[in-house]
C-alpha cells in the first residue's frame, strides 16, 4: 500500500483549513471554494492572488512547495480570462487548484516566478496563448508561437477554422 495512506487528510478538511487560513491572513481572498472531482478548488480574488500563493507556499502546515501546472482559461461568457495553478505538497500529498479570474480587457496579474522559478515558461505559454500579462516576469515574451503573431490564439474569439469558408458548414456538429 502507498505510504501516503496514513498521512491523508480528508479533502474536505483540507479545503476548510486552507479557506480558514486564507480568510484569516488575507480577508476577502477566497471568493469560493469547492471540491471538484476530488480536487480542492479555490477561487481567489485577483488582487490577492500573489499574497494567497505566498501564504500557501510558505505556510509550514500546507507547504505547497511544488507548482505542478499553471495555465490559462477563458470564461464561458468570453469576458474574463483566468489563470489556474495546480499546487502540490509532495510529502503530505496535498493537491489544490487555485483559480483566479480577471477582466479580459485588463489582463494583468502578478507573476509567480518569484515563488516557483518553474513558473517562468508556463507563464510565458499562458501569455502566448491568452495574452495574460504577468507583472514582474523577467522575460515575458512568446514561447511556442512566432514573435510576430499579433493575436492570442487560444481565446475563443479566434475560431479554429477559417470562418469565411462557405463550403463547409459545421452548424450542426461544430462548436
Amino acid at each position: 500500500m502507498s505510504r501516503f495512506e496514513n498521512l491523508k487528510m480528508e479533502k474536505q478538511d483540507l479545503l476548510n483549513k486552507i479557506t480558514e487560513k486564507l480568510n484569516e491572513l488575507t480577508p476577502g481572498a477566497v471568493e469560493k471554494s469547492e471540491i471538484a472531482y476530488g480536487f480542492p478548488v479555490f477561487y481567489i480574488h485577483k488582487d490577492k492572488i500573489h499574497e494567497a500563493l505566498t501564504i500557501l507556499k510558505n505556510d509550514p502546515e500546507f507547504d505547497f512547495h511544488f507548482l505542478t501546472d499553471l495555465t490559462g482559461i477563458q470564461s464561458a461568457d468570453e469576458k474574463q480570462l483566468g489563470v489556474i495553478y495546480h499546487l502540490h505538497n509532495m510529502p503530505k500529498n496535498y493537491r489544490v487548484r487555485i483559480k483566479t479570474y480577471f477582466d479580459i480587457n485588463k489582463p494583468e496579474i502578478p507573476t509567480a516566478c518569484d515563488l516557483w522559478p518553474g513558473a517562468n515558461w508556463m507563464e510565458r505559454e499562458t501569455f502566448d496563448f491568452y495574452g495574460v500579462k504577468f507583472k514582474g516576469h523577467p522575460n515575458l515574451k512568446r514561447i511556442l508561437n512566432v514573435d510576430e503573431m499579433d493575436i492570442f490564439p487560444l481565446r475563443k474569439e479566434y475560431p479554429l477554422e477559417d470562418q469565411s469558408r462557405e463550403d463547409k458548414s459545421d452548424k450542426m456538429f461544430g462548436r
Binding site: S2, A36, D69, I73, L160
Partner: protein, 427 residues
C-alpha cells in the same frame, strides 16, 4: 563537430592562458580589475534547430568562451501543432490521436492517460482486468521510452554499439503494440472504457517472449555501459541538478528521481490499480547524467517486474471493455441488427454523447514525468478547455542553468539524458 571543437580551442587558449598579458596591454581595464568579464570575447554558436546531436528540433544560441558555455538561450516551438486549440474542437475520442504525438516514444501512456481522464469525467469504473492490461501496455511503453533515451546517451558519448543492439527490443515492443492495435509508433491504443478488442494469443506470446528474452539484452547493454570507465568519466558530474533546484523548476519523473526525490505518480496518486503492484522507485543522489541514466536503467527492470506481476495476477473475469455504451462503440453486427446499438454508434461517431459539466485533472507517470491532463467540460461535444501538463516543456527551462559553465559536448549529453522530446515540448 571536430572542426568546431578545434576552432573553439584556439579561442580558449587566448582567453584562458593569457589574461595577464591582456591586462598589461589595456590600461583602462587594469583600474577596475574585478571586471575581466568585459574583456572576454565570446563567440556565438547556434546549436540547432536541426542539429543531429539534439535529437529533435531545438535551438540553443550558445555564448561560448572557448569550449565553455557561458550562456544559453533556448528557442522552442518549432513543431508546435496547436493541440490545445485542436482539442477544443474535437470530440473526446478524437483527441486520443493528438496525445500520441506528444511524447511519441511512449505514446500508449499518453493514450491511456487520456482515456482515464475522460473516464474520470464521465464517472466510469473500468474492471480490474482492463487496469492490469493497461498497466502491461504502459510499462512496456516505459521500457521503450527509457531504452531509447539510455541508448541515445550512449550514442552521444560515442558508444554506438549499445544503441544498435538494444534497439531491436524496441522493435519487439512495437510488435506487441501492433498486434493489439495495428499501429507501431502513434498507437491510438485502447478506447474510452477499455480496449477495442480482446488481446489475441499472439499478443500474450509476444509479451511472454519479450519478458523471457529482454533481460538478457538489457544485461548486455548494462555490461557495455554501466560500469564502463569511459562512459562514467563522461557522464558522472555532467549536468548535475540539486534536488532543491529540481523541485523549484517543477521537475518530475526520472530526472527528479535522479536528483534524489522519490516522487512517482504511480505511488503518490495510484491510477489504473498501480496500488496492487510491488515495485521499487529508484532514486539517484547527485542528479547528473549518470544518475539519470541509472535511474532509467533500474526503472526498466522494475517495469518488467510490474508486467510479470500483472500477468500473474490478471483477473480472468472482466472482459476487455467497461460497460459504457455512450462512449464505447458497439460491435458491428449489433449496429446492423439492434436499434439501440445503431443509435449509440451514431452518437459516438458524431461525438454527441452527453458529458457532465466539470473540470478534471488526471495525471499519469509518463516516460518523462507527471503527464497531466486538465480538462474543462461545459457539457458540450468537445472539451471547453484542454491543457496538457507536459513534463518536458516544464523541465527544459532549467536546461540553460544546468549547462552553464560546462563543455559543449557535455551539454549535448545533458540534453539527451534529460530525454527532451520535441513533440511533447512543443505540443
Amino acid at each position: 563537430m571536430a572542426k568546431k571543437g578545434n576552432k573553439n580551442n584556439k579561442v580558449a587558449d587566448t582567453a584562458v592562458v593569457e589574461p595577464v598579458s591582456k591586462k598589461k596591454a589595456t590600461v583602462v581595464v587594469e583600474n577596475n580589475s574585478e571586471e575581466p568579464e568585459e574583456e572576454k570575447e565570446y563567440s556565438t554558436l547556434n546549436l540547432g534547430p536541426t542539429h543531429p546531436a539534439t535529437h529533435g528540433i531545438f535551438q540553443n544560441v550558445l555564448k561560448m568562451d572557448g569550449e565553455i558555455i557561458h550562456e544559453a538561450t533556448p528557442t522552442v516551438g518549432y513543431i508546435h501543432r496547436a493541440f490545445e486549440k485542436l482539442g477544443e474542437r474535437r470530440p473526446f475520442y478524437q483527441i486520443t490521436t493528438l496525445t500520441d504525438r506528444l511524447n511519441y516514444c511512449s505514446s500508449p501512456i499518453n493514450n491511456i492517460g487520456w482515456h482515464m481522464t475522460v473516464e474520470k469525467l464521465i464517472g466510469v469504473k473500468v474492471p480490474k482486468r482492463i487496469d492490469y492490461m493497461r498497466v502491461i501496455i504502459m510499462e512496456l511503453a516505459r521500457i521503450s521510452d527509457h531504452l531509447v533515451c539510455n541508448s541515445v546517451i550512449g550514442v552521444d558519448t560515442g558508444a554506438m554499439t549499445g544503441f544498435l543492439y538494444i534497439f531491436q527490443w524496441r522493435e519487439k515492443i512495437y510488435d506487441i503494440y501492433e498486434s493489439i492495435c495495428g499501429a507501431r509508433l502513434t498507437t491510438n491504443i485502447g478506447r474510452i472504457g477499455g480496449f477495442e478488442r480482446e488481446w489475441s494469443q499472439k499478443t500474450w506470446d509476444l509479451i511472454d517472449a519479450f519478458l523471457r528474452d529482454y533481460p538478457e539484452g538489457l544485461k548486455e547493454f548494462s555490461n557495455l555501459l554501466e560500469r564502463n570507465k569511459i562512459f562514467m568519466d563522461r557522464t558522472v558530474n555532467c549536468g548535475p541538478i540539486s534536488a532543491k533546484m529540481a523541485l523549484e523548476y517543477s521537475f518530475t519523473g526520472p530526472n527528479l528521481r535522479a536528483a534524489g526525490v522519490d516522487y512517482d505518480v504511480r505511488v503518490a496518486t495510484p491510477y489504473s490499480s498501480y496500488q496492487d503492484f510491488n515495485f521499487i522507485i529508484p532514486v539517484g543522489t547527485s542528479g547528473d547524467t549518470y544518475d539519470r541514466f541509472m535511474v532509467r536503467q533500474e526503472e526498466m527492470w522494475q517495469s518488467m517486474e510490474i508486467i510479470k506481476q500483472a500477468i500473474k495476477n490478471m483477473p480472468k473475469e472482466g472482459g476487455f471493455h467497461a460497460d459504457v455504451p455512450e462512449f464505447y462503440l458497439p460491435p458491428k453486427e449489433e449496429v446492423y441488427n439492434n436499434m439501440e446499438a445503431l443509435i449509440y454508434h451514431f452518437k459516438i461517431v458524431m461525438g454527441e454523447s452527453d458529458v457532465p459539466v466539470g473540470e478534471v485533472y488526471h495525471c499519469v507517470e509518463g516516460g518523462n514525468g507527471e503527464l497531466g491532463y486538465y480538462l474543462v467540460s461545459d457539457g458540450g461535444r468537445t472539451p471547453f478547455r484542454l491543457h496538457f501538463r507536459r513534463p518536458c516543456f516544464i523541465y527544459y527551462q532549467a536546461y540553460p542553468e544546468m549547462i552553464k559553465g560546462s563543455m559543449l559536448s557535455d551539454a549535448i549529453i545533458t540534453m539527451s539524458s534529460m530525454n527532451v522530446i520535441a513533440g511533447e515540448l512543443d505540443a
